[in-house]
Amino acid sequence: MSMSPSTTTTDMQQQFHALADFIATRLQGSERFTCWFSGESTDFVRFNRGLIRQPGHVRQANLSLSLIDGQRQARGEFSLSGETQTDHARLARLIEDLRAQLRDLPDDPYLLIATEVQDSTRVVASKLPQTGDMVEEILAAAHAHDFVGILASGPLYRGFANSYGQRNWHEIASFNLDFSLYLAGDKAVKSSYAGFEWQSDAFRARYADAAAQLELLRRPAQRIAPGPCRAYLTPTALSEVIGMLGWAGVSEKSLRTKYSSLRRMRDEGLRLHPSIQLAEHTAAGLGPAFQPQGFIKAPRVELIRDGALIGSLVSPRTAREYGLQPNGDEGMDAVELAAGTLPQAEVLKTLGDGVYIGNLWYLNYSDRASCRMTGMTRFASFKVEGGEIVAPLEVMRFDESLYRMLGDKLLGLTRERELLIDSQSYEQRGTGSMLLPGALIDDFSFVL
């Protein structure tokens, strides 16, 4: 997958620019504005047992406006109808409402917006087939299995504009088929096929891989006793662990307020294994390179180098509060963990006796100070003996500190990495991604 800059202007982009121009005409006196656009036109098709459960389409667009006067600001957001007259009327009303609010508000000491104009446009023109055609291929493949999951397909839009004349646009048309094949009970294989161009051969190959793994689940499942166990976490499983660091882990504000789960790395110099190199790599991600206050995100922010926390994600608001330079927002959207040296083909042999964990699920911190987290194994996870898969694993709960699993208990990271595209769609489809290796860990702690 690759995305290239574009110099053409799309219809949706023109509509957004017209709205921004309209806002500019309504400003009074010393007022300024920033605005953020998010939209999508998505087909969602939900499947269960190889059949369709809920198929549909969502067309939505939202405009978020910050009206600023001096150091005072108020924000408002509304659903755009797409009709110029209707949207202009709503926008005019919103501006009046925000203006009335501003009269009541004190200065905001942490207000910081971009004032240096940096325009950008990034468009991936749609190469998607009709969603119905994809669905036909999926149904044809799925009829032989207990197939469950969702297909999301269509364009996503993000835009920024301000009263300094800056205009940024991000538009991609993509699909994401996130699915599981079930054998029985909770025995299943999870997989996905995502990208910008649907290729039937690639889909069938991905599906066949998942179906082949399903065969391994036919063996009787085995339990393991709670306690330490040598474990391999696939990139998908590791993504759940790394994803926890986006929850007040690498955020500068959370480090300053001592809420971050990595605060001991900052305050006491605790380190992870020297092979851990973690970065927010916006330039390689799928999301926009700009953020809601108009700053262009740093292309790459090093967070952990050689196991030491050396960076953080700094929002404009935090930057103003602590006298720092902003580098984006405080949540991770394009995570990259450096590869190791363990060849993927040698994972089972190197694991020897232990467990192969395909997926982890529902992680949460059990002790933030120790960066200790708990969660469950899920989907295709296996007991391994003598470098061979011997049985599916009954689901197990783990409770383990990051300082151990990616610290002194880390045996190695795989040489190959996997690009994982976020399939979640709370309120709107997300743009998150992670590029991760797998991790071989000694004495991974199971508790239930």
Binding site: A74, D146, Y426
Partner: protein, 498 residues
Amino acid sequence: MFPATSSDPHADPQAWLHQTAALFRSLAPAVDFCSLRIVDERSDYLGVRQDVLQPPSTSQSRGAMVSVVHRGGYGYAATSDLSAAGLREAIHRAMDWAARSAGHSVIDFTRIELPRPQGRYASPGVTAPVQRARREIIDLLMAESKACRTDARIVDWSASLWTSATDQLYATADGAEAFQQFRQVMPSLSVSANAGADTQTRSFAGGGLCRQGDLSVLLDSGFVGSGPRLAAEAIALLEAPNCPTGRMDLLLMPSQMMLQIHESIGHPLELDRILGDERNFAGTSFVTLDMFGHYQYGSPLLNISFDPTRAEELASYGWDDEGTPASKVFVIRDGVLQHPLGGSISQARAAMAGHAVGGAASARASSWNRPPLDRMSNLNVEPGDSTLDEMIASVERGVLMDGNISWSIDDSRNKFQFGCEYGRLIENGELKGVVRNPNYRGISASFWRSLRAVGNAGTLEVMGTPFCGKAEPSQIIRVGHASPACLFSDVEVFGAEA
């Protein structure tokens, strides 16, 4: 004839909703069933963090979903363009998906008799503007914030108020029309203290004081003036010993019972999970269709009701989003599993599979842009007859836990591990000192059978959360939980690392 666009929603929201429904009917196609669900929600957020007012924000989400059932297929289309052209396009898309899914759906949707609701529902607080005095609320939040920093070890503190006003209309092409209005109040206040690596947080009502109504929800709750108490408790936690480890009695206060009910009763009883719809994301359930009517879910003291009719609770309504009228349903009575949380479509699917297990008016969507599915509304523990003092007096060794801070459960909703903000030791029938980082773990199927006392109405609190996630495409929805304090025996309890 109807105008291309209905009247101005800002001038008369209710008239606009009905006119949009009329416009929809004028465009409705000749299909087996067609409905429109319009949602118009305004939310306001005011927050103060570390004595600094955060940028106030207002959100207006307005749109509609068209659903079509035809010749066995089903399809939906959601749009924020509510003009005739917008609705026409949505109807066309929904019809297209209904046609494409016919013969490939999990059920023949034409065989389901969908409700035809008629009437009006209004939550408490509808007549009072929720956000009538912005300055007054900012002053209140600021005063509470400023009262929190009682000690140099207080490192973070915030106070906020999130309110929403929702007008919703469900209409069918053949004339059914149910109009509902909701006003919701969701305040938050939390204080964090730090010493060395240890950071402890206390939250007002464990973050669970969320109800329907007007600002009296906030003003009558004890929120005002609670900042110094929360700060003192956070400091006390810093100075407290670690929670002990071992098997012992566990007394859960309502702010943690809310989470316990939600995760290990509410989600496993969702009928769409049991039917397998959620297996790729939110998960399945250890509950199966053949367990209803006889399975001993908990001790005989356990009585759980699904109750969207308790007006002040966060997720009360007159009809669910498929148009089924709301009513109170006991899903567990005297410890025995009775009914799942399943709306009309899920109930029909289960019945066609040979399991007429009943259900509830539980088909809900997070907004106009997501389709309904099986959800909790208000899921409550019915009060028992024990006072809090009696429950404490009955404990030889145990821990009282309050305010959830960590939650994790497996995809079958069985093996769980939960952590709380605040703990108190109980020894020889007496409440003793504070303990920090209290956690416990267990298995749903056996945990509820260890319930040995249920608090009376005097211990009951009406709570709720605005953040329940589920579904593909993903949805976050508001749910209510009312519960008394409850006492459990022989639970695995533990603290943080030394």
